[in-house]
């Protein structure tokens, strides 16, 4: 499965479109990280725990999107976009979406 946020997979020809596929994951922060983040919030700077968490969630969202694309018979996803939304105070939704295509 190839992902790209370009209009096409460079060097390959798009043969067929399967429409939009998406993968999302909703993650809550764990208490340990939350406490640390609270301290970090006072002095400022990067909150590494959250960076790591969101990176992992984004990978999972991509994977889920890939699975959906695979079920449709696609072998690549083009025009991939990411979007993050804070749902409640403690949880964030990570969404990845794109167009599933078959390439040659």
């Amino acid at each position: 499965m190839i992902y790209s946020n370009l209009d096409c997979i460079p060097g390959k020809e798009t043969v067929e479109h399967y429409g939009i596929v998406q993968g999302s994951t909703v993650r809550a922060r764990n208490i340990g990280v939350d406490c640390l983040a609270g301290c970090k919030n006072t002095i400022g700077g990067e909150i590494k725990g959250y960076s790591k968490l969101l990176e992992d969630s984004r990978k999972e969202a991509l994977e889920r999107m890939g699975q959906q694309a695979m079920q449709l018979g696609a072998d690549a996803v083009i025009n991939v976009r990411f979007s993050t939304a804070a749902i409640t105070a403690g949880a964030a939704e990570i969404l990845a979406y794109g167009t599933a295509v078959k390439t040659r």
Partner: protein, 154 residues
């Protein structure tokens, strides 16, 4: 007496936050500038059409993200600014360095992949939390940079 102690405690916390926060910001800017020089030969561009398609060997989606927040003192400054309006420079620098760091992290992924250029670079900014319990004010930000790493034939 109790409220007086609380006031002192808050003041001390703000002073500590100011010094530590400023040090962190300076250090971060220094690190960002160093790494930007290191990755100067790997351009990240925002256009979709890069090079001629025949030279492309391989592509991969790369991303870099950072979650960042300001210190308590700068947040207070921002809230004061918020009343009068105008530029909130304390947040401008925060978002600036976060965005540059995100680009650097994206480029690190691209470098591991062996890319020559990152095309169609996009930014995504989202607010994860708020400074106070009522859900207002400025809080923790997440900056994401993503693009397509392209490897070219030599």
């Amino acid at each position: 007496m109790g409220s007086f102690m609380q006031l002192i405690f808050t003041a001390v916390l703000l002073v500590v936050a100011f010094f530590v926060g400023t040090t962190i910001e300076k250090k971060h800017y220094k690190a960002v500038k160093e790494k930007e020089e290191e990755f100067a030969d790997l351009p990240a561009i925002s256009s979709k059409k890069v090079v001629d398609l025949n030279k492309i060997v391989n592509t991969k989606l790369v991303s870099g993200c950072i979650v960042i927040s300001n210190d308590a003192f700068k947040k207070l400054v921002a809230q004061v600014y918020n009343i009068f309006g105008g530029r909130i420079s304390v947040y401008e620098t925060l978002l600036d360095r976060a965005r540059r760091e995100a680009i650097i992290r994206m480029k690190q992924q691209a470098r591991t992949f062996g890319a020559d250029v990152v095309a169609n670079t996009r930014f995504e900014t989202s607010r994860l939390g708020a400074t106070n319990n009522r859900g207002k004010g400025m809080g923790v930000f997440e900056i994401l940079a993503y693009g397509t790493a392209i490897k070219l034939s030599k």
